[in-house]
């Protein structure tokens, strides 16, 4: 019997549980992951929405930077909103540390505060942008999968994917974004 792929959702902080039904509807196993042993046991990671500064502080406080960087190097990774910020090469407003998994530049809270949070159709699906970052620059190696207001909002390069919107919050299970990501394993 072929075992199910295990998708680890990084769970030190953020919107973790909303991914569970999407992952399970793709026939994969959902796991909330917080420790080195958890990270080593998964086939792919989702870096969920949340607060990127909080995630960074916790990664540093629990001494997980090098462990995660090593795990992230090989496995498929999908960053959503805050996760996109953690995956970027360069982060602005404010400048902060990141894992440099995708050659993109990201501006935090690029649309503004919560009053500027909004919905938009992406690939014909209604999705939400919540205090979302804006991808302001990309290298030639990046494939743009969707744009919104003239900026890329869903990008990939090899097995690394980022989206600045939240398919996990509004879409029927499984979202096409979850399907496309899990197909990379």
């Amino acid at each position: 019997m072929c075992s199910k792929p295990v998708i680890g959702v990084f769970a030190l902080q953020g919107a973790v549980i909303p991914h569970k039904p999407h992952i399970e509807a793709c026939g994969a196993e959902f796991r909330a992951v917080k420790t080195q042993a958890d990270f080593e046991a998964v086939d792919a990671f989702i870096l969920p929405g949340g607060e990127s500064t909080t995630m960074l502080k916790l990664i540093e406080r629990f001494d997980l930077w090098d462990i995660l960087a090593e795990q992230f190097a090989e496995k498929p990774i999908w960053g959503i909103c805050a996760g996109t910020i953690l995956m970027a090469e360069t982060v602005t407003d404010p400048v902060q540390k990141s894992f440099n998994l995708l050659p993109i530049t990201v501006r935090r809270n690029g649309y503004g505060r919560q009053l500027n949070s909004h919905h938009a159709p992406i690939d014909g699906y209604n999705v939400s942008f919540i205090r979302a970052p804006v991808i302001t620059d990309i290298s030639d190696s990046i494939t743009v999968l969707a744009e919104h207001e003239g900026s890329p909002v869903w990008v990939e390069c090899g097995n690394k994917v980022a989206s600045t919107f939240h398919p996990e919050l509004t879409m029927d299970y499984p979202s096409p974004m979850h399907k496309a990501f899990i197909a990379k394993i």
Binding site: I17, E51, R61, F62, Q114
Partner: protein, 299 residues
């Protein structure tokens, strides 16, 4: 786009921000400098206040919305979401907070109520609201008025967790009760709880509140935070507990650490050893005169 789907969209964005705050600590701050300490310690959001609840208790008088310049200064100093409080029922204070552009409004019993009969119609605003609740009926009344996030009331400014625990357990017990109820009992339960019937049906169908559920009121130590999270809180608010402790920076970091690993006693132990001082003194609930029992404000 029809009205229904557009109002559903707005609610989805309001609840969406609460989803992003899960698994974290929201800290009360009274200056931009404290906001930076909170952000540096890993807070997911800050609540900009003029006075923390324990000082409101000590000083007496009328507690109102914070001065706008203070809130704006806090907003400029950090990149995490900034919340602010308005008085229960004070829709004009809420309008000001929306005009400032804060990320969340707390219609809070910590401030002196402006209206003893009516809460704010929170559907009128684009900014999401959080409200306190002691039981399921109260939580559903606030959600029925448009709150996108519920928190326990606890007894703010006491450093005493007992009321927050009571409220969290009460809501959990009532959710279980509703889920096990015969369909025929539902309308009577809704009447007795003072809960909107349709929302009670939603609770029964999903086995949980239709919005996220956080804990607040009396959380002062890493162990308090871990306890609330294990009881089902999805994030904790810490008011006086951080900046009224001996060492705010260390307390803030320790409570963040304990919240992230609330189900791992070894890490909560580690956090408890890193406090660098004693917690706020705290108050026994029976020492508080009835008018200053904040949990009884609102209905």
């Amino acid at each position: 786009m029809g009205d229904k789907s557009s109002s559903e969209n707005v609610m989805n964005l309001k609840i969406g921000l609460a989803e992003m705050l899960k698994g974290g600590v929201i800290m009360d701050v009274v200056t931009a400098e404290q906001a930076k300490i909170a952000e540096g310690a890993g807070a997911v959001a800050v609540m900009a206040l003029e006075r923390v609840p324990s000082d409101i208790r000590k000083d007496g008088g009328v507690a109102r919305m914070s001065p706008p310049d203070l809130i704006e200064e806090v907003m400029k100093s950090v990149s995490i979401p900034v919340m602010a409080k308005c008085r229960i029922g004070h829709f004009a204070e809420a309008q000001i907070l929306e005009a400032i552009g804060v990320d969340y409004i707390d219609e809070s019993e910590v401030l002196t109520p402006a209206d003893e009969e009516y809460h704010i119609n929170k559907f009128d605003y684009k900014i999401p609201f959080v409200c306190g609740a002691k039981n399921l009926g109260e939580a559903l009344r606030r959600i029925g008025e448009g709150a996108a996030l519920v928190r326990t009331k606890g007894e703010p400014g006491t450093g005493n967790i007992v009321e927050a625990v009571r409220h969290m357990r009460q809501i959990n017990a009532e959710i279980k009760w509703v889920c096990n109820m015969d369909e025929a009992e539902m309308m009577t339960a809704a009447r007795d709880m003072g809960a909107p019937f349709e929302l009670l049906q939603l609770v029964r169908a999903e086995g949980k509140l239709p919005v996220p559920n956080f804990a607040a009121g009396g959380i002062a130590t890493p162990a308090d935070a871990a306890m609330c999270m294990q009881l089902g809180a999805e994030t904790v608010f810490v008011g006086s507990g951080i900046f009224k402790s001996d060492n705010p920076d260390k307390f803030a970091k320790a409570i963040v650490k304990a919240t992230a690993h609330f189900d791992d006693p070894a890490i909560v132990l580690e956090a408890s050893k890193e406090l660098g001082g004693v917690a706020m003194r705290g108050t026994e609930i029976s020492e508080i005169d009835e008018p200053m029992r904040m949990a009884n404000r609102g209905w």
